[in-house]
Amino acid sequence: MDVQTAFPPDRSLIDALRSGDDDAFAHLLDRYHASMVRVATLYVRDRAVAEEVAQETWIAVLRGIHRFEGRSSLKTWIFSILANQAKTRGRREGRSVPFSALYDSQESVEGDLEPAVDPTCFKGDGWWRDDSHPHEWSNTPESQYLSDEVRRCVQRAIDALPPAQRQVMTLHDIEGMASEEVCNMLGISETNQRVLLHRARSKVRRALEQYFDEH
């Protein structure tokens, strides 16, 4: 990463925070808080608790800001604090399954138990059957897919995913984290991450297909 171009905004934000600039803090809240709550729900499952975890994270950020050395980006640092707080909280609640157990389970990469598309959609030769041939979802412009209703459909489909798939899709596709960051945060291999992402996206696509068929 090019330090010259990547860090100045961070650095000025950090300096502003240290000197007690309200606007700098408000800016960070606007930029990250909603994401932090969403990421925290991956560990604690309950939105109210996730909100608390995010708030506690900000307190920890303020306590640590004078010691922060800028070796990672400010965002990465904040989210690693968040992940630690959320994990601790999840463990205390006894609600969250430890990660290693989660990824060792059969939900992970073993075998090809979960095809992306229902196998009955294909003919014997492996090509689409005429009646399940994918088609364009909508001829209307962008706005139609991006309606609140469509977003809710996607959110519901993601909420319904098995935990590891939900975590990977939330971090990678909603939060826009790079694969490497996702792997670090969840402690999984890149291959495992991609399999989970694949299964997650395939299922969410199916949910959307159903939605567009009905509307």
Binding site: W128, P134, L146, D173, H198, S202
Partner: protein, 100 residues
């Protein structure tokens, strides 16, 4: 296992890919993780199939819509509370334990 058909793509013969296989390769393709040879098979299939281009586009749309979910913003009440937290942190700091 039957003998795999070959198909001509960009002047080269490549093993044909079925739609059933194509849908399993989509994520590796989008994440740029397909080995070169498989990438050619994927592209060849994309050029000769009338369904799979739509499938690929649907997956792209799925990702795009998921990306839009990040646009939610902080609840006003949480924002007010946290700004208060910041104000008291600042007051504490300026009372003298500033490490700088």
């Amino acid at each position: 296992m039957s003998i795999r058909k070959q198909t001509l793509y960009n002047g080269e013969w490549v093993d044909e890919l079925t739609c059933k296989e194509f849908v399993e390769w989509v994520t590796d393709y989008l994440e740029d993780k397909l080995p070169a040879e498989d990438g050619r098979r994927f592209d060849a299939h994309l050029a000769q199939c009338s369904g799979c281009p739509h499938y690929l586009e649907q997956i792209r749309q799925t990702i795009r819509i998921a990306g839009k979910l990040s646009e939610a913003s902080i609840e006003p009440q949480a924002r007010r509370e946290l700004l208060r937290v910041f104000a008291s942190w600042k007051a504490e700091h300026q009372r003298g334990d500033d490490p700088q």
